[in-house]
C-alpha cells in the first residue's frame, strides 16, 4: 500500500490533534510529532514485537491498555500517553526489567549511553522495589569482534529481529521460556563458533544496553547505532537514504 503524499488521518494524542499516515502506529505518529512515548523493544526498520510493554497507552473506548508500537492509528482515535497510572505501570515494569538481569552501570561499557539507563532517569526510577534476581549468567567473549554479556540482556529481541529480517542470517533466537528465557546463537554454542554469523555487527548496533558490544570497549565507551536498521531498510526498500544523524 503506497503512502499518500501527506498524512491524512487525524488522531488526538494528549489533547493535540496530529495527522497520521494510514499505516502509522500510535508510536510512529507520536514520534514524528515530537510526542515522547517511552519504549524499549520497538525499533524502526524491523517488525513489531510488543514485549517490553513500556509504551502502553490509553486509547479511548478500548477496555485495555494498548502498546503504542503495535496499535494502528484510526480516524479520530483519542490517545493518552501520560496518565499517572501509565507512569506508575511503566516505572514498575522498568524496575522489573532491572531486577531480572545484572545491570551494574558502574562497570558497563554502555554507562552514560544506554537506553535502559536513560529510561530509568526518564521514568524516575531511583531504586528498584522488587527483589533482584541476581541470575548467574556467563559472558560470551568468544567472537573475535564482539562480546555478548547476557547479564545485561533485556530480551527485547532487537538483535534477533535485525539478524533475521535485515541481515537474513537468523543467528540469534530466544530459547527457554518464562524467566528461564535466554538468547542463543545457532545451537547455543559460543557466538564465535556459530557458523551462520556474518560478523556484520548489526545486532551490536541495535542493542539498547551493553549486552552486545564491540570488543575492546572499556566502561562508558560503547556507542550503539540503533538507527542503522531504519537507514538500511529504507535505503533498500524505499530507495531513500535517510540522514542517520537526525533520525
Amino acid at each position: 500500500m503506497a503512502r499518500p503524499k501527506r498524512p491524512n488521518v487525524p488522531v488526538v494524542i494528549d489533547g493535540h490533534e496530529v495527522m497520521a499516515y494510514p499505516d502509522d502506529t500510535v508510536l510512529s505518529v507520536a514520534k514524528r510529532n515530537g510526542i515522547r512515548i517511552p519504549h524499549l523493544c520497538a525499533l524502526d526498520g524491523v517488525s513489531v514485537y510488543g514485549g517490553c510493554r513500556l509504551c502502553v497507552v490509553d486509547v479511548a473506548e478500548r477496555h485495555k491498555l494498548m502498546p503504542a508500537c503495535g496499535t494502528a492509528v484510526a480516524e479520530d482515535m483519542e490517545v493518552h500517553t501520560q496518565s499517572r497510572t501509565l507512569q506508575e505501570h511503566r516505572k514498575l515494569i522498568l524496575e522489573m526489567i532491572l531486577a531480572e538481569g545484572n545491570h551494574v552501570c558502574a562497570v558497563c561499557v554502555s554507562n552514560g549511553a544506554c537506553e535502559l539507563q536513560d529510561l530509568a532517569v526518564e521514568l524516575g526510577v531511583d531504586h528498584v522495589r522488587p527483589d533482584y534476581q541476581f541470575p548467574r549468567r556467563t559472558v560470551d567473549a568468544s567472537h573475535p569482534k564482539y562480546t555478548f554479556d547476557p547479564n545485561r540482556c533485556v530480551l527485547c529481541t532487537r538483535c534477533v529481529r535485525t539478524c533475521s529480517e535485515v541481515e537474513g542470517a537468523h543467528v540469534w533466537d530466544v530459547a527457554g521460556r518464562a524467566n528461564g528465557s535466554y538468547l542463543i546463537a545457532d545451537l547455543g554454542q559460543p557466538w564465535g563458533e556459530a557458523p551462520s554469523c556474518t560478523w556484520c555487527g548489526k545486532c551490536v548496533a541495535v542493542c539498547p544496553t551493553g549486552a552486545l558490544a564491540w570488543k575492546g570497549k572499556a566502561v562508558g565507551e560503547m556507542r550503539h547505532d540503533p538507527n542503522l536498521v531504519a537507514f538500511l531498510t529504507s535505503a533498500r526498500d524505499e530507495g531513500e537514504w535517510l540522514d542517520r544523524e537526525t533520525m
Binding site: 533475521s164 542470517a169 537468523h170 543467528v171 540469534w172 533466537d173 530466544v174 530459547a175 527457554g176 521460556r177 542463543i184 546463537a185 545457532d186 545451537l187 547455543g188 551462520s196
Partner: protein, 182 residues
C-alpha cells in the same frame, strides 16, 4: 514431482553416522513433506525415536527442514515435554496439578526424592530412575496421581510409591541374577 524432490533431499542429507534411527526420522520427515510448520510434530517423533533431543538430532532436523538452528533449539526448548538429556531406565512423574497438590503431592515428590536419593527433575546417579513432576495429567479424581513408566497410579502416598518402585527394581535385579546364573 514434489515427492522426488523431497526424496532426493533425504538421500543427499542422510545422516553420515549410519544410525538406523535416523531412517525412522526420515520417514516422518517425508510424511511431513519437509514442511517447516511440522517442526513440533517432528521434534515429538525425534524424541520418541532417540529418547531425547541431542544437538546432533536438532541440527539434523534444522538441515532437513532448512531452518536456522537457533530457531529449532528455540522452539524445542520452549516446550516442557522436550528433554535434552537421556532420561533414566524408569521414569516416575508425579502430578503437581491443583487437585494433586491439595491432596499432598508435594510431600510425595519430596518424600520419594529423599527415599530414593533422586532430586526432583533429575536422574539417579546409576541412571536407573528419573523423577519428574508434571502440570496435571488430568486424572484429578484419583489425586495424588503418579505416572510410572506410562502407567497411571492413583491415590499415591510416598510409602506406596517408594515400595512400588523398589519392587520393580527388585524384580529386575532378580531377573538379571537369574539370567546370569542361567
Amino acid at each position: 514431482m514434489a515427492a522426488t524432490a523431497t526424496d532426493s533431499r533425504a538421500q543427499q542429507d542422510a545422516h553420515p553416522s549410519g544410525d538406523e534411527r535416523f531412517a525412522l526420522l526420515d520417514k516422518a520427515l517425508k510424511r511431513a513433506r519437509f514442511e517447516q510448520d511440522q517442526l513440533v510434530e517432528l521434534l515429538h517423533t525425534a524424541q520418541e525415536v532417540f529418547g531425547y533431543l541431542s544437538n546432533d538430532v536438532l541440527i539434523y532436523l534444522a538441515r532437513q527442514l532448512r531452518l536456522p538452528p537457533s530457531r529449532v533449539l528455540g522452539v524445542a526448548s520452549f516446550y516442557h515435554l522436550f528433554t535434552f538429556e537421556a532420561p533414566g531406565d524408569h521414569i516416575c512423574t508425579v502430578c503437581l496439578g491443583t487437585a494433586c497438590y491439595v491432596k499432598g503431592a508435594e510431600e510425595v515428590v519430596e518424600g520419594t526424592a529423599q527415599a530414593l536419593g533422586v532430586p526432583a527433575g533429575q536422574t539417579s546417579d546409576d541412571g536407573r530412575l528419573t523423577l519428574w513432576t508434571a502440570r496435571c495429567v488430568g486424572s484429578c479424581g484419583l489425586a495424588p496421581v503418579v505416572v510410572f513408566d506410562g502407567t497411571v497410579l492413583g491415590k499415591q502416598t510416598t510409602d506406596e510409591l517408594v515400595t512400588h518402585i523398589r519392587e520393580v527394581f527388585a524384580a529386575e535385579d532378580a531377573a538379571a541374577e537369574e539370567e546370569e546364573a542361567g
